[in-house]
């Protein structure tokens, strides 16, 4: 535990916490654009700057990366911080004047426009890196990256071509604070040629990375629910059985064994195509069927098989 002062208030923070985390724990507001609990601190947006006094030396640091150490004195709204933050917001306004989150932020800090001497762009990406980091750190797909350098930096798929490693999970679109990354789930359409018509099947496209993937159709309800490569990736990554994702989460009803009716014959166990059932010892010669929901694909073969109708 570390004890530090934020805006004159003494607070304690757990070991390894950053100033931002400690402040948020105590309802002290610090604006951020590039931080997310699920991702490692990055320190790109520079909005979360605070004034840190350590051993008599005062510096401006980003609170999302600076560890909450013992004896720190932190000011989140000092004039120096306010001036710096104002410039950061102005620079963002000049870059992305039409992005909602930036406009809201500017309004909050009483900034109407960026300085008129600044040039203006009309970009929609603020280069916070959330999408890139989510793709690399959480999804572990590594499909998108920063490209270019200097003032021409952008987020892009490799070589500005189709992102081969993209599984169309849509995490980037979900996390993007400006909404410039869009995923579209398209219904099945017919592609007709003189020879006849074929169904494309439901698809998901993420135009930013030039990706289009088929959506898996639930064998039960018939609705498309998740992109196939994403399910394949999860199946491999977490050792799921290949049949596991045949059914969509909302249709998934795991079989329940009525232990009063179950004879413990083991027929269901043999009938299960993936071995998700086992006989459990209940003492003596008594055995009852048990379902491992982690593996069960909810195909309900066991339900059809059970001679006693003990599984439902």
């Amino acid at each position: 535990m570390a004890t530090l002062k934020i805006n004159g208030k003494k607070i304690t923070a757990p070991e390894g916490a950053t100033i931002l985390e400690a402040a948020r724990e105590h309802d002290i507001k610090i604006p951020t654009l590039c931080s997310n609990e699920a991702l490692k601190p990055y320190g790109a947006c520079r909005l979360c700057i605070v004034e840190v006094t350590k051993n008599g030396r005062t510096t401006i640091e980003t609170s999302c990366t600076y560890p909450a150490e013992d004896g720190l004195e932190v000011k989140t709204e000092s004039p120096r911080v306010a001036e710096g933050r104002k410039l950061v917001i102005e620079l963002y306004l000049a870059r992305c004047p039409n992005v909602k989150i930036i406009r809201q932020l500017a309004e909050e800090y009483g900034i109407k426009e960026s300085a008129p001497q600044m040039g203006k762009d009309n970009d929609y990406c603020i280069l916070c890196g959330l999408c890139v980091r989510a793709c690399n750190e959480v999804v572990k797909a590594g499909a998108i990256q920063f490209a270019g350098s200097g003032i021409n930096k952008i987020v892009d798929s490799p070589f500005h071509k189709t992102a081969e490693d993209c599984v169309a999970c849509g995490s980037c679109a979900f996390i993007c604070p400006t909404g410039i990354i869009k995923k579209n789930d398209l219904p099945s359409t017919s592609q007709c040629t003189p020879e006849g018509c074929t169904q494309t099947g439901a698809q998901r496209e993420i135009l930013n990375w030039q990706v289009e993937h088929k959506l898996k159709v639930c064998t039960k309800c018939g609705n498309p629910y998740a992109p196939e490569p994403h399910l394949t990736k999860i199946t491999r990554q977490y050792y799921f059985l290949p049949e596991f994702f045949n059914i969509c989460p909302s249709c998934r009803q795991y079989p329940v064994v009525d232990e009063d009716k179950c004879l413990g014959c083991g027929g269901c166990m043999e009938a299960c195509p993936i071995g998700a059932l086992e006989l459990e010892d209940k003492g003596g010669y008594d055995k009852k069927a048990h379902v491992f929901t982690g593996n069960c694909t909810a195909c309900h073969t066991c339900e059809d098989y059970c001679p006693m109708k003990a599984i439902s």
Binding site: T65, L91, M118, I151
Partner: protein, 570 residues
């Protein structure tokens, strides 16, 4: 020859001395990149061919650069019992004439630059004698090198071997007391003593920030970690500066020795040298030097029988300016994109691959053998009280004689420009100068008396940095200069943090609008506001100083910029 005792070094030293002042003639050609660009490669080939053809008993050796870059290609001749003569510039056409003179024992007077009666390669150690007895009459017309302005005013400590020894022969490095410091450290000193000496020497990082090296080492030594690393920063992304390249091409063994000592002091067993990939010759020679050190048993396991293991690897970098920043360099070494990491944790706590790491500049590491050999107290006497030691300064821009020189810290900038650069060379006066590469401030001629000193330069709004000294004469348009430097930052910023990336872009636009004639006072006020906020909020030194060049131009040459603003009623 592999050695495993410190006393065996003297055997190699003897071999080296035979190579340096041989029984036959030794002809050396300055073949660092500065020389090669001026045709040293051809001169070397021509000399080798002619020596063979004319059956002259001589050895032709490629050496590094001695700082006389303006007089390249430089050829030096050492004949037994005679002083060493420096010739330059020697073109291919004059090789025949030179060899004829060598054969007959004469001198090509119009090419001769200096005469070395003896080589005072390091204070406290007796010089290496070439000439015995009186100087022949034919040679007395040439000025002795220690009486010449160029050499007299320098204090060659780090660069003592540059241009004298062959970079690809470890024997020659050992001949001039190379690896003596490592042997001393391994046999007589404890790691703590080494750090103490470095702390006493008050050596400060030669890369930019000027952080005390002893403190850095101490922090790394006391940090917990099963593995530690020494990283040599040879990124040198600055334009117009090439002294690290030149140093690697002239004396790579000094860095290896410095790193091995650093490894012993902080408890690291592996080191990386990060070198700009464009430095083709330097990389070649550095790799050869490491190979030779390994073969001699000065790198690897159980060095000189002390039980110390230290191995080195060379990593090639793309040469981005931002990769000179130590955390960005570590990222680049790990194969990530060269973006600075948030600090803390500092590299000394969590550096390369998350292990405690010391990142030192090439020149800093080259100072280490000297400190270890002669002691920290001796080193602290050189230079000024807070900036000790010497600094290699790369002179470029409007100077008559560009090149690099090594001077004690505290030398006035004016003296450097006048003694070594010989003025602007254009007949115009010096208008401004910039120290420390692109991140430094552009200072006016009125500040020429400023001393080369960490604190003084910081006070004046510039920095010592890696030691570049760019001189601008009266013909330079300062706004053009500001534009050039800001454009440089626009290209070289990594683009990670918002203030630097967006700020530099806006600065560029503001300069453009002033140049196009519709800049106003408000533009200048905005620049001042941005510069202040950028220095506070940017993530690394590059972003913090990106506005400094333009700001210093505004501060020191306000009339020039304001004269271009939009006039009222225009």
């Amino acid at each position: 020859m592999k050695i495993n005792r410190a006393s065996d070094l003297s055997k190699i030293k003897k071999q080296g001395l035979e190579l340096l002042s041989p029984a036959t003639t030794r002809i050396t050609v300055g073949s660092a990149t500065c020389g090669l660009a001026k045709g040293a490669g051809k001169v070397l080939e021509a000399l080798k061919y002619e020596v063979k053809k004319k059956k002259i008993q001589a050895e032709v050796v490629a050496v590094g650069c001695n700082g006389l870059c303006y007089a390249e290609p430089i050829v030096e001749v050492i004949q037994p019992g005679k002083p060493r003569i420096t010739y330059g510039p020697v073109t291919v056409e004059r090789v025949g004439e030179l060899l004829k003179a060598i054969k007959t024992g004469k001198v090509v007077q119009d090419l001769a630059l200096a005469r070395h009666d003896e080589e005072a390669y390091c204070p406290n150690i007796a010089p290496l004698k070439y000439a015995k007895g009186k100087v022949p009459a034919a040679l007395s017309g040439i000025k002795e090198y220690r009486k010449q302005d160029f050499f007299k005013n320098q204090l060659k400590l780090v660069s003592k071997n540059a241009g004298t020894i062959s970079p690809s022969r470890i024997e020659e490095y050992i001949a001039l007391d190379g690896y003596k410091a490592l042997a001393k450290v391994l046999t007589e000193m404890k790691p703590e003593d080494v750090i103490k000496e470095v702390t006493v020497s008050k050596l400060r990082g030669r890369g930019g920030a000027g952080f005390p090296t002893g403190l850095k080492w101490q922090a790394c030594r006391s940090a917990a970690g099963d593995k530690k690393y020494i990283v040599c920063n040879g990124s040198e992304g600055d334009p117009e500066i090439g002294m690290h390249r030149s140093f690697l091409e002239s004396d790579p063994q000094a860095i290896i020795e410095g790193m091995a000592i650093a490894g012993y002091a902080v408890g690291a067993e592996a080191g990386y040298i990060y070198v700009n990939d464009r430095y083709v010759v330097a990389l070649e020679r550095l790799e050869e030097a490491i190979r030779q050190a390994e073969q001699t048993g000065l790198l690897g396991s159980n060095i000189l029988g002390s039980g110390l293991s230290f191995s080195l690897k060379v990593k090639r970098g793309g040469g981005a300016y931002v990769c000179g920043e130590e955390t960005a360099l570590l990222n680049a070494l790990e194969g990530l994109s060269g973006e600075p990491r948030p600090r803390p944790p500092y590299p000394a706590q969590q550096g390369l691959f998350g292990k405690p790491t010391v990142v030192n500049n090439i020149e800093t590491l080259a100072n280490i053998p000297l400190i270890a050999l002669h002691g920290g107290k001796w080193f602290a006497k050189i230079g000024t009280a807070s900036s000790t030691g010497t600094k290699i300064v790369a002179l470029s821009g409007a100077v008559a004689q560009p090149g690099w020189v090594e001077v004690p810290l505290g030398t006035p900038v004016k003296a450097i420009i006048e003694t070594f650069g010989k003025g602007t060379g254009t007949g115009k006066k010096v208008k401004a100068f910039q120290t420390g590469g692109p991140s430094g401030g552009v200072l006016p001629a009125s500040l020429l008396n400023i001393k080369l000193d960490y604190d003084q330069l910081t006070k004046a709004g510039s920095l010592l940095g890696s030691g570049g000294l760019l001189v601008m004469d009266e013909g330079t348009d300062m706004l053009d200069m500001a534009k050039f430097l800001t454009d440089f930052f626009a290209e070289e910023t990594c683009g990670k943090c918002s203030t630097c990336r967006e700020g530099v872009k806006r600065l560029q636009e503001i300069i453009d609008s002033i140049m196009q004639g519709y800049g106003t006072k408000e533009h200048l006020n905005l620049v001042k506001r941005m510069a202040a906020a950028m220095s506070d909020t940017a993530a690394c030194a590059l972003g913090k100083t990106a506005a400094v060049p333009f700001l210093s131009v505004l501060k020191h040459f306000p009339k020039e910029v304001e004269g271009k603003l939009l006039r009222k009623g225009a």
